[in-house]
């Protein structure tokens, strides 16, 4: 059995009141409640305020490159599929710099849990717009307002083949913990988009804003209905944010098809040494 203390690393350097505090706590709580240990999970961190969680939470971890956390996690999982793997990323990280990896990880259904700190800005580089920013939002890099419309990450994930798509809110620890746990139980590519206020650089999407605009999916909601899930995802355009598991579908995870001997992690398999067998084609 583990405790929160086991997972607790350095004291976070996040701004007071930042949504990242709640997300960090919820992730630790979920780990504890699932009976995991810092040694039993691999985490791939992106670069951003979000990725800075690397120093605040204990695990076998890689603090890699901006945008590449999913790609890194893909390799981790294939090398040792017996360990759960998650990626902690920002919305700039995941939907911008690493957008291509996100898209293709959905297709591949890699068994990775991706926790996106969706704060609609680039926090760490002091508040420029992220791909989640609303059209017209002004920032230092877009003084006349951003021209692009935002990414719709949930719809994107659903349409590209993700098999678990959820949304939760940094102001609701209990809901985050429950959602994260469901993601970890799922086998396949799971995204948990966490609506995260950035108290320093984002003045619209505050806790108060989200309190008014989020709502929880009720027990009657059927996440296996893809069209209905898409309709839920599209609600972002009306500033409505459903919380909970929006879409879930069963499909073989990538490693289940890619690792020849699924009973043993790749790193523990016996070494192939029948070299003669391979050279026949060179004769």
């Amino acid at each position: 059995m583990s405790t929160l203390q086991d997972f607790t690393g350095y004291k976070p350097t996040w701004c007071p009141g930042c949504g990242n505090w709640g997300i960090g706590m919820a992730l630790k709580m979920a780990f504890v409640e699932m009976g995991m240990m810092p040694s039993s999970v691999m985490i791939s961190f992106g670069i951003g305020c979000s990725g800075n969680m690397n120093d605040f939470i204990n695990a076998y971890a890689m603090h890699g490159l901006h945008g590449r956390a999913i790609a890194t996690a893909v390799g981790m999982k294939l090398a040792n599929h017996k360990m759960p793997v998650c990626a902690v990323v920002g919305d700039g990280d995941c939907y911008g710099e690493g957008g291509n990896h996100f898209l293709h990880a959905c297709r591949g259904n890699h068994d990775i849990k991706v926790i996106i700190h969706d704060n609609r800005v680039y926090g760490l580089t002091t508040g420029q717009v992220s791909p989640m920013a609303e059209k017209g939002q002004k920032s230092k890099s877009t003084p006349s307002g951003i021209i692009e419309t935002p990414v719709d990450p949930l719809a994107l994930a659903i349409t590209q083949g993700a098999t678990f798509v959820a949304q939760t809110f940094a102001g609701d620890t209990k809901h985050m913990v429950e959602t994260l746990k469901k993601a970890f139980v799922h086998t396949g590519f799971a995204i948990v988009n966490v609506l995260q206020p950035c108290v320093t650089f984002e003045k619209k999407n505050t806790y108060a804003y989200y309190m008014q605009h989020v709502y929880k999916l009720d027990a009657a909601y059927d996440p296996t209905n893809k069209m209905q899930a898409l309709a839920k995802a599209f609600e972002i355009h009306e500033e409505k944010y459903p919380l909970g598991v929006i879409y879930q579908a069963p499909r073989k995870a990538y490693h289940e098809e890619a690792v020849a001997d699924i009973t043993t992690p790749l790193i523990s398999q016996t070494r192939f040494q029948d070299f003669n067998n391979l050279v026949e084609e060179f004769i």
């Binding site: 670069i47 690397n54 971890a61 603090h63 390799g75 040792n80 293709h104 060179f282």
Partner: protein, 569 residues
């Protein structure tokens, strides 16, 4: 004796397969071969040619003159006649064109045979093989048994149809031109041989090195490593992944390596360019990775199917910031296997990125190598994973300062501890730091690793020929070794005194071991490279402080030739 057979025709009609079959048959008859293919970056249309240099001794390059030219179209003759020897044998279809000049015409009625046996155009290749084997004094036994194996699944009828086409080509020569048959491909007993190209050699080496994860995105001339390893995947258990782009490729491989699997990636210059940020990450996180970089003429998309050694300095400098890395450039196919095994060990021992440089020439040219030597090499090989450990206690520190700069690297999963690999500068325990003193400690620690490399693993350039008596000394690297060796052999036969200094361990360099090699003022040193800037020359200037007055630089996308060496002696 060396003897060159060449076949040409329109792209998309099986020239490559035919050329390779010819090489294999020559090798099965126990001759040595070196072959190379010419093709445009097109799937159809354009000109394809395949050239095989057959020899009774080991051979490592093409030669200048063509002895037999098989023309599946007129263009082949027009393009290559200038390289034909006097009285070269020209195999052609009299219904298509008639070659003229100082040649021996060997007409083969390709079109008529196709009509008679109702074959598709592609069967011209089979006829050509039959005719070629006839003119070179071989029988069809090897070709027939290859067909039996190749088409076993398609049934007896397909096998015998192919055999019939080959026989028709064979008979066409024997009936009308028996007097021109020369005994080039007589059967010998020189030991079983493999016909392998550089990419296959790397792939084979990677399997033997126990690489468990290979990730790539197709790019000529590196793509066939991906396809070869993928084809073997079911047997070897290696996870071979064609990822969405080269950035994903290398980040995934580093993730797999972090988790404990020997991992590798491959590309050409453009894909490598997308990988450099992650190479730098491999440097600071100290996660081993082997990068196969097969060069082609750049910049940008360049000339995809031609050859150049234009990325030595890019490989050395690829990656922002200062961190150790090792660059190896095998000179031939056997060295490719040896250095691939070495590359995986070095990556693990020093916990650094190791780049294995190839180029179009080395990647796609086939060479015959003795089966026994290769088997000996891979069978005796035991992976050296350096300080990789499977267990540790609570006091474990990933970036522990040690005497040699190398810290024990724990496979994630050990229950007594945990750690992070950090692309930010870090403390010994892996946590992020911006401390000035800790920064210096870690920079120095990483650099220290290369001191050990210098004493334990760096290998000085090798010398081909008699350097003591040589007045002319060529200096080159990588795939240049093949042609340089042949040039030195030829020069010696002509009574000329020359030698070649060959670099395979490109970076870092041991100044002391190299300087003495190239500083005899009584000798003329000539830099030879398949690029326009003389990149090894620049490197040696920068690292060792020597400069080259004389240079042979070839950058037309074609390989260096022996004659380019000989005329400088």
């Amino acid at each position: 004796m060396q003897y060159t057979w060449k076949i040409g025709g329109e792209a998309g009609f099986g020239i490559m397969t035919t050329g390779l079959l010819f090489s294999k048959i020559a090798a099965r008859r126990d001759h040595y071969i070196f072959d190379f293919v010419e093709y445009p970056s097109l799937i159809r249309g354009g000109h394809n040619a395949y050239e095989v240099n057959v020899s009774d001794e080991p051979v490592s390059s093409l030669k200048r003159d063509i002895d037999v030219l098989v023309c599946l179209n007129k263009e082949t003759f027009d393009l290559h006649k200038k390289r034909c020897i006097s009285q070269a044998k020209i195999i052609f279809d009299p219904e298509v064109f008639t070659p003229e000049g100082d040649i021996i015409p060997i007409p083969v009625p390709f079109t008529a045979i196709l009509k008679e046996l109702q074959g598709q155009v592609i069967m011209k290749n089979t006829i050509a093989l039959g005719a070629s084997l006839a003119i070179l004094g071989a029988d069809l036994s090897e070709l027939n048994s290859i067909f039996e194996k190749q088409f076993a699944k398609k049934g007896e009828a397909v096998v015998s149809l192919n055999q019939q086409f080959a026989q028709k080509g064979y008979d066409a020569v024997m009936n009308a031109n028996k007097e021109h048959v020369i005994s080039v491909l007589g059967k010998k007993e020189t030991g079983k041989k493999l016909v392998i190209n550089g990419n296959e050699a790397f792939s084979y080496g990677a399997v033997a090195a126990d690489c468990r994860f290979y990730c790539a995105y197709p790019m000529t001339p590196a793509s066939t490593v991906l396809t070869t390893l993928a084809a073997w995947g079911k047997k070897t258990g290696m996870v071979v992944r064609h990822a969405e782009d080269e950035i994903a490729v290398i980040n995934s491989a580093i993730g797999a390596s972090f988790a404990g699997a020997r991992s590798s990636v491959g590309s050409s210059g453009g894909g490598f360019a997308l990988m450099v940020e992650a190479i730098s990450m491999s440097g600071i996180t100290e996660i081993p990775i082997v990068v196969f970089l097969s060069q082609r003429p750049g910049p940008a998309t360049g000339m995809p199917t031609w050859t150049e050694q234009g990325e030595l300095l890019f490989a050395i400098h690829g990656g922002h910031g200062e961190f150790p890395k090792i660059i190896l450039a095998p000179g031939d196919h056997k060295e490719m296997i040896e250095l691939t095994l070495k590359a995986f060990d070095l990556a693990d021992i020093y916990q650094v990125p190791v780049i294995v440089l190839s180029d179009m020439l080395l990647s796609e040219a086939h060479m015959s190598i003795q089966y026994d030597e290769i088997q000996g090499e891979v069978n005796k090989y035991v992976p050296n994973r350096g300080k990789l450990i499977a267990s540790a206690d609570e006091t474990y520190k990933r970036y522990l300062l040690t005497d040699d700069g190398i810290s024990p690297r724990l496979v994630p999963g050990e229950s007594k501890t945990y750690y992070q690999s950090n692309s930010y500068e870090h403390l010994e325990d892996g946590h992020t730091t911006e401390s000035d003193t800790e920064r210096i400690k870690q920079v120095d620690k990483r650099a220290l690793k290369m001191q050990k490399y210098m004493s334990d693993h760096f290998v000085a350039p090798t010398i081909i020929g008699d350097i003591n008596s040589a007045q002319t000394v060529f200096v080159g690297w990588g795939s240049t070794k093949g042609v340089a060796s042949e040039a030195i052999k030829q020069a010696t036969e002509l009574g000329k005194k020359a030698a070649y200094i060959h670099f395979s361990y490109m970076y870092p360099l041991d100044k002391n071991k190299i300087k003495t090699l190239i500083s005899d003022s009584s000798k003329k040193y000539i830099l030879v490279e398949n690029n326009s800037e003389g990149q090894l020359g620049k490197l040696l200037q920068m690292e060792i402080g020597v400069s080259f007055e004389h240079k042979i630089l070839r950058y037309d996308g074609r390989a260096l030739t022996r004659e380019q060496f000989i005329e400088k002696i």
